[in-house]
């Protein structure tokens, strides 16, 4: 949970911007650059990613040049909520088509809920069942989305 130091943040951030810039820059030539008066599909992304690489470099150098100092106000990486929330979304995506809305919502709610260590299994089971029914009532019954509660197994 310790906050990432500020100069490290800039080095990582600048490096990522450079990497993304290069990926777009490299591909842009394949789409045809063209001329100023008749620009090809690759022209605009080529210019943008070129500028992005320069800006990324500036951020990176700024980070490297800065003296190390702690920045306690900044929030640190919270692994548990990240895994739980993203895991909940993944469960929804995996379960929706084969098993229907009910199981997908219940699983998403239960897994996402694990992000807060205070949530107990019983709480989560009740919450999951409640949300599955409420979401089904709102979206399938109310808004008439084509999402059956159960699918496949029944």
């Amino acid at each position: 949970m310790s906050a990432i130091r500020r100069e490290m943040r800039d080095v990582i951030g600048g490096g990522t911007v450079i990497a993304v810039g290069f990926a777009f820059f490299y591909r842009s030539f394949a789409y045809g650059v063209g001329t100023l008066s008749e620009m090809g599909a690759g022209f605009f992304p080529m210019v943008l990613s070129g500028v992005a690489i320069i800006i990324g470099l500036a951020i990176l150098i700024d980070g490297l040049a800065r003296k190390a100092r702690k920045d306690p106000q900044h929030e640190g990486f919270a692994l548990r909520p990240v895994l739980a929330v993203l895991g909940g979304i993944a469960a929804f995506a995996l379960l929706l088509t084969p098993y229907g809305l009910g199981p997908a919502v219940a699983a998403a709610a239960a897994i996402a809920g694990l992000g807060d260590p205070e949530n107990r299994w019983l709480n989560l089971a009740i919450l999951a069942a409640f949300l599955a029914i409420v979401c089904w009532l709102i979206f399938s019954v109310g808004l008439k989305l084509p999402l059956p509660f159960f699918r496949g197994v029944f």
Partner: protein, 503 residues
């Protein structure tokens, strides 16, 4: 005049009244939730609006947006948890008033200030938009390119955070906007064989991922163990004569600041609220009261952010150029409904504009009722522990994203954008400039290509157009000013505002 009357008739139709009410209510509800502001609210409810006709959909979504601005102040005042960045400054004195047992007065002041700020900006919207439309009619592709470039630079650098990082985020947004089929040549760019990417990313996915999921992840820990116990009685909301005297001028000044900054590109509700607070503290004869429950510290920023929220519709509707990330998503919403904002819309579909403007009035009156007599409904919402609320938010985001195209692929995308948005936050990169870049990207490219084709590939030729030259000159000046600022002090503008606000 006919168009105004048609607008009144449109806004007062039973269906539009109902959806305006639904919009402001849901907007307030989502705005009250910690971490979720107007922008997340609009992207969350955008899929639902697909089933409505365009004018009704816009009335509802706009209601969601400014309703979110009202709701955000409630959590700031009661829990010191800003619903949105634009309410952050209200926490300082608002929450202090709550601790002194004056939560009711703070909430009342916020609602009244919001109403006055919002209504004044609507008048400005009615007067200024037609004027701006006349100017915009003489715009060709070169002028649009110049104006959008200025907007992008302003969004990247003035609003929040370090200017270099803001620029990097705008560029990332512009690059994300190039993904999909190029409209000019039909070439598929950066799709990597995914058929789902042929039309590019949906604005809803980026909005929900970077503003919804990312905010939820970081709120799981920060919003724990905070619940307001107790109720707000109507009698406790009534301000004393002294309160009224103290709050009157800050509301007026906050409104002016918000209306001004709302129209300018890149400076939305957040910067307006900060500015309003700092100015009140500066000119106050008793600055030591700020941070200790001064009513001015609630009145000024809350008037300013709502004035800015309404005023930011001016450039969006008249030019089709959004000044803030929230307006970028509103613009995206309009385009999904087949309405392209800009001077043509203002002439061909006047009834849409006036219908929307009149609905703003109606919505603001509804919000006054929702936030004063019905305040306890929102207090109850805040009494539900966040650990039960956020799994529900995650589920609604998933269903909402899926329902755009009935595609599970987009749910996976929202997962990726959520993670990216969270990591960006940790690294100190703001998602708002990315959003503006993403929406404006295809328009910038289109106008640049057309302008260069008309000019025969001679970039200097477009500088012979006076408006283009003036706007590009302003862009260059802004750029130089930013570079000068970085080199000279290496401190961020918001950092300085933060210091001023706190120290």
């Amino acid at each position: 005049m006919d168009a105004v009357l048609t607008g009144i008739a449109t806004a007062f139709s039973v269906q539009n009244l109902a959806f305006c009410f639904l919009g402001v209510t849901l907007g307030t509800f989502i705005g009250v939730l910690p971490g979720l502001g107007g922008l997340a609210a609009v992207s969350l409810l955008l899929p639902i609006s697909f089933y409505l006709e365009p004018t009704t959909a816009l009335i509802m979504l706009a209601g969601v947006y400014y309703g979110g601005e009202y709701g955000g102040s409630t959590a700031s005042i009661l829990l010191k948890l800003p619903g949105d960045a634009s309410n952050a400054i209200t926490c300082l004195d608002g929450h202090e008033m709550t601790r002194q047992g004056r939560a009711g007065v703070a909430l009342f002041t916020a609602a009244i200030g919001s109403f006055i700020g919002g209504s004044t900006a609507i008048v400005l919207l009615m007067v200024l938009t037609p004027v701006l439309v006349k100017v915009a009619l003489s715009f060709g592709p070169a002028e649009y390119f110049a104006a959008m470039t200025f907007g992008l630079l302003a969004a990247a650098t003035i609003a929040q955070g370090a200017p270099l990082k803001g620029m990097a985020m705008v560029l990332m947004g512009l690059l994300l906007g190039t993904i999909g089929t190029d409209v000019n040549s039909g070439v598929e760019r950066y799709t990597f064989g995914f058929l789902e990417l042929l039309d590019g990313f949906s604005v809803v996915i980026i909005g929900m991922g970077m503003f919804g999921i990312a905010e939820v992840i970081s709120s799981v820990m920060t919003a724990r163990d905070r619940a307001y116990k107790g109720r707000i009685s109507i009698s406790s909301m009534l301000p004393t004569r002294e309160d009224v005297r103290r709050a009157a001028l800050p509301i007026a000044r906050g409104t002016g600041i918000g209306a001004l900054f709302g129209v300018l590109p890149g400076t939305g509700p957040t910067i307006s609220a900060f500015m309003a607070y700092v100015i009140e503290k500066r000119i106050s004869r008793t600055p030591e009261r700020f941070g200790r429950g001064a009513i001015e510290g609630v009145a000024a920023p809350e008037s300013a952010n709502n004035a800015a929220a309404q005023a930011s519709f001016i450039p969006t509707l008249a030019l089709g150029i959004p000044g803030s990330a929230s307006m970028a998503i509103m613009l995206g919403a309009m385009m999904i409904h087949g309405i392209t904002p800009g001077p043509r819309m203002m002439i061909d579909h006047q009834e849409v504009f006036w219908g929307l403007v009149i609905s703003f009035w109606i919505g603001n009156v509804m919000l006054l009722v929702l936030n004063i007599p019905l305040i306890n409904v929102w207090v109850r919402v805040l009494q539900v522990p966040y650990r039960f609320l956020y799994p529900a938010i995650v589920c609604v985001v998933c269903i909402g994203v899926f329902s755009i195209n009935n595609s599970v692929f987009e749910v996976w995308l929202v997962l990726m954008f959520g993670l990216a948005g969270y990591l960006m936050r940790l690294l100190g990169f703001e998602p708002a400039p990315l959003m503006i870049g993403f929406i404006l990207g295809p328009m910038v490219e289109e106008n640049l290509r057309r302008a260069m084709r008309l000019a025969g590939g001679d970039f200097l030729a477009i500088l012979e157009r006076p408006i283009t030259a003036a706007i590009l000159g302003m862009t260059a000046l802004l750029f130089l000013w930013i570079v000068y600022g970085i080199v000279r002090s290496k401190t961020r503008m918001v950092d300085r505002l933060d210091d001023l606000a706190q120290g």
